[in-house]
Assembly symmetry: C2
Homo-oligomer: 211 residues x 2
Amino acid sequence: MTTIQTTPADVFTLASWLAGDFSNWEQAIENPPFFAHIRVCIRPLPVIPSTEPPEGVWLYSEQSYDFELNHPYRTAILNIVSRGDHLEIVNYKLKEAENYFGASRQPERLQELTPEQLEKLCGCTMLVHRTENNTFKGAIEPGKQCCVVRKGKSTYLVNEFEVGEHFFSSLDRGHDPETDERVWGSVAGPFEFTKKTSFATEVRSHEVSSV
Amino acid sequence: MTTIQTTPADVFTLASWLAGDFSNWEQAIENPPFFAHIRVCIRPLPVIPSTEPPEGVWLYSEQSYDFELNHPYRTAILNIVSRGDHLEIVNYKLKEAENYFGASRQPERLQELTPEQLEKLCGCTMLVHRTENNTFKGAIEPGKQCCVVRKGKSTYLVNEFEVGEHFFSSLDRGHDPETDERVWGSVAGPFEFTKKTSFATEVRSHEVSSV
C-alpha cells in the first residue's frame, strides 16, 4: 500500500479518530473462543502536561477485558506529534498507574496529572503515515528496543495498527531478542475494534503543533 | 508419558470429573488479552437416551463466553463408554441445539431429550487413556474426519485434552485437509479450566456398562 505524507493538521484528525470507547465485541462473537472481548478507551487529557514547548495532542488510553473495565491490564499516555512527513505517537507510562484505573471513563480525574508522573517509554514510539484508503497506519519504531516482560521472559514488541474514523485494528507480538522468534501474540490475527462512543469533541485542537 | 489401561469403572470416574461448571478465569487474568474468559458446563443427562443396549454415561456440554452464558457457541452430547483398554467419548450433536441453550444450568430441561434428536458426529470420537499422574488424556480418533467449517473454509479438527478431578485443559486446532497446515486455533496454548461447581452426584452410575 502507498503511504501518504501527513500534515500537521493530521495530528488533530488522528487524535479525533482515536478518541473514543472501542470494543471488539463483533469479532469475539464471530470467532469463538479465540478472541477475548476487549475494550479500549482513549480519552483526551483535559489539561495538557506542561512540556516545553507544549506540543501535539495528549491522550490517556486504557485496555481491559470487558468484564474488568476498572482494572485495565494496560494503560498509557499518548502524545501525538507531527514530524515532517509523518506523525509520531510517543508512549509514556504512568508511574502510579493504579491511581488512574478507570479514569478513561471519569476524565475529571485526569486533571490532576502532572509531567512528573509520566515516564517516556524509549524505543516504543509509533511512526504513523496516511494511506490511500483514508486511514492511518502505524508501526513501532525500528530497533527492537520496546521491551515487554511476560511471564519473566524479556521480549521486544512488534506492533502494527490501522486507524479509521470509526475503527482501529491492532496486532501486538512479542519476539525473542536473540532469536527473533515469536514468543507471544495472537495467531488468529489482529484485534478489530469499532468505536462505540466518540470523545472527538474533547480533543484540545489549539495545542496542535505546526512544526 | 506412559498411558495406563482403563477399566470399565473408569467410565464413572471420568464422567464424575467432567460433570461440572468450569471456568478459565485465572488464565484470562494472567494472560491479557490473549485468552477469552470461557465457561464450560457439563451436565449429566437426567434421563439416559434409550440406546440398545443402554451403555455408559451421557452428558450434555455447553461452551460459551462468560458474558453470554445462555448463548453457547458450542453444544454437544457426550457418551462415555469403555472399549477394552481405553475409554471413548462419542460425540453427538443436537439437531435443534438452540432449543437446549442454557440447559446445562437448568438440567430439568434435558429430560425431554430423545434419541431422535441426536446425530452422531462420525470421526469425532475421543480416545481416552489414564496417565500415571492420576489424570485422563484424550485425543480425537485418527483419520482427519472430524470436519469443522470456519468462515466458509473446511478444516479437520485436532484436539488434545487432559482431565483431572478438579480441572481440564483442552487444545483445539483446525487444519487444512489438503496441506495439513493449521488454519485456526490458539497459539498461546491450551485453555486451562478449573472446576467451580461439581455435578458429580448427578452422574447415573447404574448405567455404566461393563463391556
